[in-house]
Structure formats: C-alpha cells, structure tokens
Amino acid sequence: MAKCLSGVETAGPLLSIPSQLQGFGRLVAPSHRVMGYDTRPGSTGTSPIQVLLIEDNVIDARFLSADFQKRGESRFSLHITHRLDAGLQVLRTTPIDVILLDLFLEEIYGLDTLSAVRIAFPDTPVVVLTGLNDEALALQSLKHGAQDYLLKTSADSDRLFRAIYYAIERKQVELDKRSLEERSLQMQKLEALGTLAGGVAHNFNNMLMAIMGHSYLLTETSADEDIQKHAVAIKKAADRASALTRQLLMFSHRETGRLVPVNLNDILRDTEELIRSVAGQRSLLSFAYAQQPALIQADPIQIQHMIMSLVLNAREAIGPAGCITIRTEIPESRSVRLTVSDDGCGMSPETRRHIFEPFYTTRGLAVAAGLGLSAVYGIVKQHGGTIDVDSEIGKGSSFMVTIPTASIARAI
C-alpha cells in the first residue's frame, strides 16, 4: 500500500512536520546535494534520493514513512510536510529529487495543488498520490505535468519506489530533450545569423576595399596637407571597419585560411607572451599542456585569434584581478580539447544563450563590438569542432573547444 512505505525519514530544520509525526522515525538533516544517483530499481548508490512528501493527512503520511523505513533501506531520504507552503520552502532550501504530492491539501485542492508546485519548481518530478475514486483526476494530473500517479489504495511499496525511480528518469529525459531542442534552435539561429552576417560582411568588405584604395591614392597623389590628413583618417577608419568585417566573416565561416597539421601546444607556446600581455599583469595566468602532441588540422592564425578572443573575454570577466587557466587535453584519440577558464563574474543562463551571437555584448556596443566570441564560434565550426560553456554567476566560466585530431579532420 502506498500509505506505508519504508526508508529513512529526514527533515531539515525548516520542515514543518506534523507534531504527531515528530518522534516517529529518524530525523536527519540532509547536508548535500544528490548528484548522479543510480536510478535503477534496487540500486545501492551511495547518495540517497531526496523525496519530499507533501501530505496533510498525518496518518497517511505515517503509513508512507513507515514503508520508507521498512523497505527503502538507505536508498531514500524522506522529508515530510503537511502544508504546501512548507513544502515549497523545503524545495527552496533542499535539493529535492522527487515530490510525492497529495492533491487534496487543506489550503489548496485538486489540480491547483499540482500547478502551484509545477510553476514554482518545473524541473522537479512529481508523483501524485490520490485516494479512492480519484483516478480521473490522477490521469488529468499527468496531462498537467505530473510524471506519474499512485492510488494510495492500491500501490504497494515496490510500486511506489518504482514510480519514484521512473519519475526521476522520465523527468531527466524530458529535461535532456528540452536542452537538446534549445541547443538545436540556438545553432539554427546562429547559422542563420552567420549566413546573413557573412553576406553583408562580404559586400561591405568589397566596398571597403574601394574606400581604402581611394584613400591610399589620395595620400599618395595629393599635395594638399588637409586632404592628406583627411585621407589618412578615412583609411584608418576603413582599416578598423575591415577588421570588424573580418570577424563577421570568421563568424560566418567565410574567412577561409589554409588548414595544415599543427600542434595546438606549439601554437600556445609560441603565443604565450602575447597571451600574457592580453591577459594583463594583474591576472594570474597558468598553462597546462597535454603531455602528448595535440595535433589538429587548422589555420594557425585563426586558432591564435580564437585563443586571444577567449583570453580577452576571460580578462573582462575577472575584472581587476583573478585567475585564468588555459589547458590542452586529449580526452580521446579522436579529438583535442582547449579549455580557457576564469574565476571571474560568470554568466547568467540568459547571457550564456546569447554570447555567440554577433553584436551581443554585456558591456555596451560603445565599449565592445560584440564580435569576439561570435568569431570564436565561427572558427570552431570551420575547424569541424564544438564549443561548450560552463558558467556560474560569481564563480567563473570555462570555454571548452573540442577540435578533431588531424587525421580525423582530414577525413571529414
């Protein structure tokens, strides 16, 4: 029966546990987040699954906790609240893996209960617990985002535990799918932007060539000092514009260089001094090289440009002082990885979604063109690689570029 589950009862200090329940079971404050648990039924993974039971009926709650105690062994940590607001408070303070939710609470009723939980914590799987004759409502709850439902009257502990495992697994699949879809959409958007930017930059570059050529001719042919001065200013502005269009072309993969077999370690060593000057004197810069040659098929100039842009980005992130680490690795024989990490301000998920878009900058377009990372993206794509970003506000960021090894790249 679902009302009677075994395992360990746990409660953090903020938990609202019905007074009648206190003293039953072992109350343990969870102290760590569950990561990478084994979701196979019967798993003996080291981290218990954090289960939150929101059930206002103290007797039902006791039946359930008894089952957790008797049959759950050390697989679960059970937190119990009898009110929704107390449950939401637990969710805010404790890394809960799955919620067992009674839909009929004193202060809220039916699908509203589920909606309240789903709105506040959309990524936490919910198993709805329902009483007699509630199957229609239970089915509706699946349509409203619950992973599963259990009729208290018919579920035994095995069924309950299985529901918990499957709910977590299903939610994970759902989250992975959503993440893949978001990523795919983002890539499509970047590709479309690349096509547009590349077309504009190509035509713009042709016009710039004419401007640069004519301003050069003016400086060479005119004896008028004023004209000379203006022509030089035009040429300088055109040079800057040309540099920008080159970055746009890089982003759109149109800036093609000659790809040759190179050792990424050598490129880094050759440019170490330059990197140090870009990183600035107040940055603590460290290099960690793969022991084996990191051979890739690449345009060394573009790779240097990519590294410089990543280091420049890291320098901006750390502000007045901080650490930047550049690392090369060979995670598998088919690829080489370059990671540029910093312990700077980090990025919000929203910023992370946009960083590779051209002209996206957090510093304002007057300060930065917003093309550095989009050029990096283009260079990586042009080399058949991928770029991933890990970032946390206040803790820093890591940009991980993976490029196929030379032999693989030749075959692509």
Binding site: K3, Q20, V58, R62, A66, K70, F104, G131
Partner: protein, 121 residues
C-alpha cells in the same frame, strides 16, 4: 488478534491492515495511537464544514477522512465518508448534517475499536 474479535472486526479489519504492514504489530499500535490523537480534529473539521454550509469544504473533509478510514480497513466509516463526499447537492442542509452525523458516529466507533485493540495488544 483474531478476526472474530467482536466489535473490532465489524468496524475495522485490522488483520488486513496488519498484513499490509508486514505483521508489524508495533507499527499498527503506533498508527492506532495516531488516529486516536487525530480523531477529535477530524470530527471538529467535519462539524465546522457542515455548520459553515460550504459544500466544497464538506467534500474535502470527507475525502480526507475517507483516506484515513480506508487505511484502517474501516469499511463502514469509509462508506459513510464516500457517501458524504459524493453527494452532489447539499441544498437541503439537513442532508449534510445527517450524513456527517452518520460519519461522525462511524469515526467514533473506529476510535473505540482502536482503543480496544490497544488495550488488548
């Protein structure tokens, strides 16, 4: 505990409950105690709902009581709670009072049965 235990077996099939609890008599005693503590609250909630004339609240309280009664395999109390919960129309206030009165009576019997069980075990 035997099924022919007069009063008890007619009100709640605790042998069945014990089976659900893997024969854990101590746990059943604990749950029975919990019910006895909770009983006045349930009855009070029921009376409040009926005197307030709030049909929705009456059904909610009945729903909750039904779950508890089922947990103790208390057939008559479960049935009384279900009837109250499933009543569509409380326009005649007396109906709600009558049904709630019957449920309250069954809950009282359940409490007595559980007290008897605690005394015997």
């Amino acid at each position: 505990m035997k099924s022919e235990d007069g009063l008890l077996s007619r009100i709640a099939d605790l042998e069945l409950v014990l089976g659900r609890l893997d024969g854990d008599l101590e746990l059943l005693r604990e749950l029975a105690t919990l019910y006895i503590v909770e009983y006045p609250n349930q009855v009070q909630d029921l009376l409040d709902a009926v005197s307030g004339g709030d049909a929705d609240k009456i059904r909610r309280v009945a729903h909750k009581i039904k779950g508890t009664a089922w947990s103790f395999a208390a057939g008559p109390a479960t049935d009384a709670a279900r009837t109250l919960e499933e009543t569509k129309d409380f326009t005649d206030g007396r109906d709600a009072s009558e049904l709630a009165g019957r449920l309250s009576q069954e809950l009282g019997r359940l409490r007595l049965a559980l007290e008897e069980f605690l005394a015997r075990t």
